[in-house]
């Protein structure tokens, strides 16, 4: 990441595209650290928090939540990129496409039309792309904070590093590292619980395994993620069917290439591989898949 260095407070913006706003709440969850932020940063645009707006910046640092799911969003994103020195994506939607990226498996325009018809009473007013894609597919991204939602500790680290002009220390290792440091017993080895932890980036503090549940991958794949080997273990040693393998991988970061590959090899997300002509059945299966 480039290093803005100045004694003037940095101009920060926080914006969103297709997303639930939960990651933006990460800023508001900072508590006392928010006061220090005020000394180093000037938050000029943050629609979730303030009605005082500067939607066109310019920004020293722009935080972007959400994935790109309409043409309008794409145009707006490109406009904002031109107005920002550093662009940081926050959360699973912005970094991997989010849960809504599953729509891509509807396969074609008729498929997405089927989804829309099932949800909206007057589908003709809805203008959407057939995909929901990560920000980095469209513009240059300088840093990303993963997770659904993001981790406030990582947010503080990124802000601190930006303020003093060094590279943020963001992990590229597996959730396993956090489990082991915390003394959490491996849920996959000790209980046969399918867990994505070995191929998923750490940063969450191993929340799910700490609650005796397998990781479902909201921080997205880490470097060298070997999804194929893990899926083979699911099938061969844990006895999962292809459908259950795909369901475990098809979560909040399903569209990340390392996970997508496994999902496709296993026949697609449950329900969707059957052409998704009836959205109702797809909904039911997807729901079961990511729980």
């Amino acid at each position: 990441m480039a290093m803005p260095k100045s004694d003037k407070p940095l101009r920060v913006g926080v914006v969103k595209f297709a997303s639930c706003d939960g990651c933006q709440l990460g800023f508001l969850d900072l508590g006392p650290a928010l006061l220090d932020i005020g000394l180093r940063f000037s938050i000029v645009e943050f629609g979730e928090a303030s009605s005082r707006r500067a939607p066109d910046g310019p920004f020293d640092v722009l935080f972007v939540e959400g994935s790109i799911s309409t043409d309008d969003q794409l145009r707006h994103l490109r406009h904002l990129r031109d107005r920002a020195s550093l662009l940081v994506t926050i959360g699973a939607c912005a970094t991997s496409g989010g849960i809504q990226a599953l729509r891509a498996w509807a396969g074609n325009d008729r498929g997405i039309a089927g989804f829309i018809a099932a949800v909206y009473a007057t589908p003709e007013y809805v203008d959407t792309l057939a995909t929901a894609t990560p920000v980095a597919d469209h513009v240059q991204v300088d840093a990303e904070l993963r997770g659904c939602p993001i981790d406030t500790g990582q947010l503080v680290e990124l802000l601190t590093a930006t303020a003093i002009g060094r590279r943020p220390q963001l992990p590229s290792d597996a959730v396993c590292v956090e489990c082991k440091r915390a003394g959490t017993v491996c849920v996959m080895v000790s209980r046969g619980e399918p867990c994505l932890g070995p191929i998923i980036s750490s940063g969450c503090g191993a929340l799910c395994p700490g609650m005796a549940r397998g990781c479902y991958g909201c921080f997205g794949p880490r470097e060298s993620a070997n999804g194929g080997s893990l899926a083979d273990w699911y099938r061969g040693s844990l006895g999962l069917s292809d459908e259950r393998v795909a369901a475990r991988f098809a979560g909040f970061t399903a569209w990340a290439p390392e996970l997508r590959e496994v999902i496709d090899a296993a026949g697609g997300p449950p329900g969707m591989r059957r052409a998704a002509s009836t959205a109702a059945s797809a909904d039911a299966d997807v729901d079961g898949g990511v729980a």
Partner: protein, 656 residues
């Protein structure tokens, strides 16, 4: 106290209570999260009475025998998910707090005193692991003080193993199953009690206070049978043939087996985290938003992560096969060179807790065996420098050498820093940034010079400091240029780019003692004329009649350079070298050093008289954190200067 005493079953509570009366927390096996883990024990009731474990590659389950069996044993399991290192070498340990006010720096030690603990239920394999950590972390000239403190205060109650799992292979590694040494008290569990023996003065004192009767001959006989049974179980299982293993393994650095294993390996680090001997660590910094204080913490790290071997311009082990090879060859080969034992005790945890069941025994079978070892360096070890212990220096002056290389002149230094050797380096620190290894580029009258290329945030920040600013220093550390190897001989010094600064103190010293050497020649190459450092000084040297200076650049714009163009080895042809009477010192990019040393060897210089200075990722600078490993060496401690012979083929292998 007799050599073998009898502790009745209910007496275990008395032993636990005695240890607690001595102010110790007792850590022992207990059931949590569907596993037998080590945790604090209030009394025998907290132990896994009647609980067994079943282990296989990638699989662990516990089961319970008959509900209220009064004879149910408390230690009827093989091993736990994590090892005792969680207590002797905890996952995170606070180290230091640094504060920066204006241009003043303060370092505060924030380590805690170690708690007084008693470990109950330590197996023979884990005793061997503790002995290995004693050697690695507290056996050399530098010690991990936190470890030594924790270890020194721990009281150890060993319990003989009678029920090894399918992943156990302590018999192969020669560490068990019998408890032999390294304990205060050892117990052998029988259905109605324990045969107890003391292994230290502290253990004898505790045993005396229990006032026990001597164990009967039947009890002693039954106790001996426990490990005999364990040994028999392991004899039927897959083991490891250790004979010649160290050399067999190093002969297979390019085996296809590494690629095969990497197809399955997730590089998740689990094997290294559960391993009782893996000791690699990171320093994690937490900086406040204002950048004035910076807190450092030592954390477990792993050679399986991408960042582990990262340096400013890349990564030495990008592929998973490189990382697995690093781990396995360290455990079973280079560890022997470094510490005199294998780095594996055969506890089997890496097999059971691998999420995809990779079996280290099978990996060793797949990737089979080659070459003799070399001794640990006998060179004198320089000034002490523990992590977290910084001294200070003040920047008197700084100036640019090229567009991205700066030289700093440091004053107000401790004497130890000024008495370093040519080729040694410092860990240079500015709170809020990672410490960076920087070679000393000149020693002069209580001052040192550091020549730094700005590659990352740390070097950028340090070179931007105004005169008068303080910086934190650890060192000088590492093995410098062995100048005595050139006494009475011709000297060839070859530098590439930013490789000249580490060589300059050597040149200074040779010129100051010129009569001790034959001819002295310096060959220096850089990418472009603008990348040459010390240009004025080079002219000064070239004007002398007791040193020959050759300078070349890879490319230059027409009209900007009247000197030689081409790689540095081309300069050798102009100055015939008598290899049999020459000692060479080389520093530059790794590929340049490889080509240069091959060219010099081709002119008859023996590999043991060609010295190179290597670069690796360094966190601690004193051989404790593990990042800088290159084959059998810790580059920081055993190097950075090595002879071409000692580096062997690892210089030319990708991914080491």
């Amino acid at each position: 106290m007799t050599t073998r005493a009898w502790l009745p079953r209910q007496g275990l509570d008395r032993l636990i209570a005695l240890l607690q009366e001595d102010g110790r927390r007792v850590i022992g096996p207990t059931v949590r999260d569907s596993a037998i883990v080590y945790g604090e024990i209030a009394s025998g009731a907290d132990l896994p009475n009647g609980i067994h474990d079943e282990q296989a590659p990638g699989r662990y389950r516990i089961s319970s025998s008959s509900g209220d069996d009064p004879a149910a044993k408390a230690f009827d399991y093989a091993s736990s998910p994590s090892s005792w290192k969680s207590w002797t070498f905890p996952p995170t340990v606070p180290m230091a707090r640094a504060t920066r006010e204006g241009d003043r720096l303060t370092y505060d030690d924030v380590r805690h005193d170690a708690p007084r603990l008693a470990f109950l239920g330590v197996r023979a394999c884990d005793l061997a692991a503790l002995a290995i950590h004693d050697e690695v972390l507290a056996g050399g000239p530098y010690i991990d003080e936190d470890y030594a403190d924790r270890r020194g205060k721990a009281f150890i109650v060993a319990v003989e193993c009678g029920v090894p799992s399918s992943t156990c292979f302590c018999v192969s590694m020669g560490t068990g199953p019998e408890v032999r040494s390294g304990f205060d008290i050892a117990l052998t569990e029988l259905p109605d009690g324990y045969v107890l023996r003391a292994g230290s003065e502290a253990g004898r004192k505790v045993a005396d206070r229990l006032s026990l009767a001597e164990a009967g001959s039947l009890q002693t006989y039954a106790a001996a049978g426990v490990t005999v049974a364990a040994r028999a179980v392991m004899a039927e299982q897959l083991g490891v043939t250790t004979e010649g293993l160290k050399d067999r393994l190093m002969a297979q650095l390019e085996s296809d087996g590494w690629d095969e294993i990497a197809e399955t390996c997730l590089a998740c680090t689990s094997c290294t985290m559960v391993c009782p001997t893996c000791f690699c660590s990171d320093v994690k910094l937490t900086t406040d938003l204002l950048g004035t204080t910076s807190q450092s913490e030592r954390r477990w790290a792993s050679c399986f992560t991408l960042d582990f071997a990262r340096v400013a311009h890349g990564n030495f082990r990008p592929r998973v096969r490189d990382r697995y090879r690093q781990w396995l060859t360290h455990k079973f080969s280079t560890w022997v060179d470094q510490f005199g034992t294998f780095g594996c005790v055969g506890c089997g945890r890496c097999i059971t807790w691998c999420p995809v069941g990779i079996d280290v025994r099978k990996s060793l079978l797949r990737v089979a065996p080659l070459r003799p070892a070399l001794q640990r360096s006998e060179k004198p070890v320089p000034v002490s420098a523990n992590p977290g212990h910084y001294s200070l220096g003040t920047i008197a002056e700084s100036w640019p050498e090229t567009k991205n290389v700066y030289t700093l002149r440091l004053t107000d230094l401790p004497e130890s820093v000024c008495n370093g050797l040519p080729g040694q380096f410092l860990m240079l620190d500015l709170p809020g940034f990672s410490a960076v290894p920087i070679s000393i580029s000149r020693y002069r009258d209580g001052e040192i010079f550091l020549t730094i290329r700005t590659e990352g945030a740390s070097t950028y920040a340090i070179t931007s400091l105004p005169p008068g600013s303080q910086v934190g220093l650890r060192g000088p550390v590492g093995q410098g240029w062995p100048i005595e190897e050139a006494f009475g001989r011709d000297v060839v010094i070859v530098a590439g780019g930013i490789g000249l600064p580490p060589l300059r103190p050597l040149i200074d010293r040779i010129l100051a003692n010129r009569g001790h050497f034959g001819s002295v020649r310096l060959f220096y190459g850089a990418r472009t004329p603008a990348d040459l450092v010390y240009t004025e000084e080079l002219k000064g040297w070239a004007a002398r009649d007791d040193i020959v200076v050759g300078v070349t650049v890879d490319r230059a714009k027409v009209g900007t350079w009247s000197g030689a163009v081409g790689v540095v080895t081309h300069l050798f042809d102009r100055e015939p070298i008598d290899g049999s009477h020459t000692t060479a010192y080389v520093c530059g990019p790794e590929k340049m050093m490889s080509a240069t040393s091959n060219s010099l060897a081709g002119r008859g210089i023996l590999p043991e008289r060609i010295f190179l200075s290597m670069e690796r990722h360094m966190e601690c600078g004193i051989g404790l954190c593990g990042h800088c490993q290159m084959g059998r060496y810790f580059v920081c401690k055993d190097g950075p200067v090595f002879s071409r012979r000692d580096l062997g083929e690892s210089l030319d292998l990708e991914g080491m």
